[in-house]
């Protein structure tokens, strides 16, 4: 006799306290014509989901209406269960990686543009580290900054998810990396990865150091997630024709003022939020990105995995900001 598979999703009745994260039964949804239903094996946590859980997402962009449970999205990997009538790229049993706002559940149904096949050499946990972090870094560095060989790139919080994706993308492009991170362990990790210039993200010393060691020229590209004086300090070491890639949220949502004077030097400021991209554009970006993994030009991010029973501990681990790369939650055994 076949055992009915338990379907659940991760929810919170209201945001605020991570211990409230729980699994609630849900029913499966049949895919529409252009959709794919996935049995989820692993989920990769993103910072946005943590902020949503704590009710602290800037601008309340992701807040759920009151009296409705908070649900979670992000990155997932798993196997295809069924596909809609117009889907030709996938069939049941395919190993896939995907991202959307509703993936943190045992089963998820989503448009096929958000789904890609996992290259054979990559496992489920590894695959779940890829989508959002890499898509963000890829869009920023390759699409917006049009990063070139030998350019100098400052990556703030380089030991985090997007930071680690940026390190690999910069190494692939042949750029010179200047990285910051918040503690000794993270900085040692970055040096081991071959990052030549590693600095502290909790002090403004990096400003002087970049100025001195580049002979006053500064860096060509900055991938920023720091706020306040760290943002303006970084901008002060952006070289002529430099590109500033802002992936942080706080200063933007707080409408922090920034002087225009530095921009006399042909500088460009990009505010980056991939949530606003259309499904079509996201799909094209995702497919392009996954090609790099297929060709083994990029690899999955470092991660630590937690079982689904420890989901609150996984969120808490991320909240402590002590981790390197990604936090992955394992929902099911892979077959």
């Amino acid at each position: 006799m076949a055992v009915t598979e338990q379907c659940f999703r991760v929810e919170m009745t209201e945001p605020g306290i991570l211990e409230d994260l729980c699994l609630r039964p849900v029913s499966r949804r049949k895919p529409g014509p252009e959709e794919v239903e996935i049995r989820v094996v692993s989920v990769g946590l993103n910072f946005a989901e943590l902020m949503k859980a704590l009710g602290a997402y800037p601008g309340n962009q992701l807040d759920t209406p009151e009296h409705e449970p908070v649900t979670f999205g992000g990155d997932c990997s798993g196997t295809v269960l069924s596909v809609g009538a117009d889907v030709s790229r996938f069939r049941p049993g395919d190993r896939v990686v995907a991202y959307s706002r509703e993936v943190f559940s045992s089963h998820t149904t989503l448009p096929e543009v958000f789904v890609a096949k996992i290259p054979e050499h990559i496992g489920y946990d590894e695959a779940a580290t890829i989508p959002v972090a890499y898509a963000t870094a890829y869009y920023a560095l390759y699409r917006k900054a049009a990063l070139r060989r030998n350019e100098r790139v400052l990556i703030h919080a380089a030991a985090g998810g997007v930071g680690q994706a940026a390190v690999q993308l910069c190494q692939l492009a042949g750029a010179e990396i200047w990285a910051t991170a918040g503690n000794d362990e993270k900085r040692a990790f970055l040096r081991d990865q071959g990052v030549p210039h590693v600095m502290n993200s909790r002090s403004l010393e990096f400003v002087d150091r970049i100025r001195e060691q580049t002979g006053g020229c500064g860096v060509d590209v900055i991938l920023n997630s720091l706020c306040g004086e760290f943002l303006s300090g970084s901008l002060s070491v952006l070289a002529r024709f430099g590109r500033f890639l802002e992936i942080g949220k706080r200063d933007i949502y707080e409408n922090r003022m920034l002087g225009l004077y530095p921009f006399r030097n042909n500088l460009t400021f990009y505010g980056i939020d991939l949530l606003q991209a259309s499904p079509e554009d996201s799909g094209i970006l995702f497919a392009e990105l996954m090609g790099y993994f297929e060709r083994k030009e990029l690899g999955p991010l470092p991660y630590r995995v937690f079982p689904i029973g420890d989901v609150a501990r996984a969120f808490r681990w991320m909240r402590r900001a002590a981790h390197i790369g990604k936090v992955v939650v394992r929902l099911a055994e892979d077959e």
């Binding site: 605020g16 306290i17 991570l18 602290a56 909240r319 402590r320 900001a321």
Partner: protein
């Protein structure tokens, strides 16, 4: 409920949410950040304390607090208003 009891709740939640504070004396004149709390740790300490105290205070009113004592004062005033 007096200020000391409210401080006990906040200290309990700070210890729950930040590692290594079990034996540390908490001085209300200092900020949680000075005890190693990240900004999101603080968000949860505040939420959990509010739940323990049966309070709901909009997050916008919490931004200007300088230290643990300020938070205790805010909670105390809110408690008084309910009473």
């Amino acid at each position: 409920m007096d200020r000391a009891q409210i401080l006990d709740v906040v200290v309990k939640q700070l210890r729950n949410n930040v590692d290594g504070l079990e034996e540390t004396e908490i001085d209300p004149a200092l900020s949680m950040a000075e005890y190693g709390a990240t900004s999101l740790d603080i968000v949860e300490v505040v939420s959990a304390s509010m739940r323990d105290l049966g309070l709901r205070i909009p997050r916008t009113r919490l931004g200007k607090l300088k230290n643990i004592g300020d938070l205790v004062d805010l909670f105390y005033e809110a408690k008084m208003q309910i009473a």
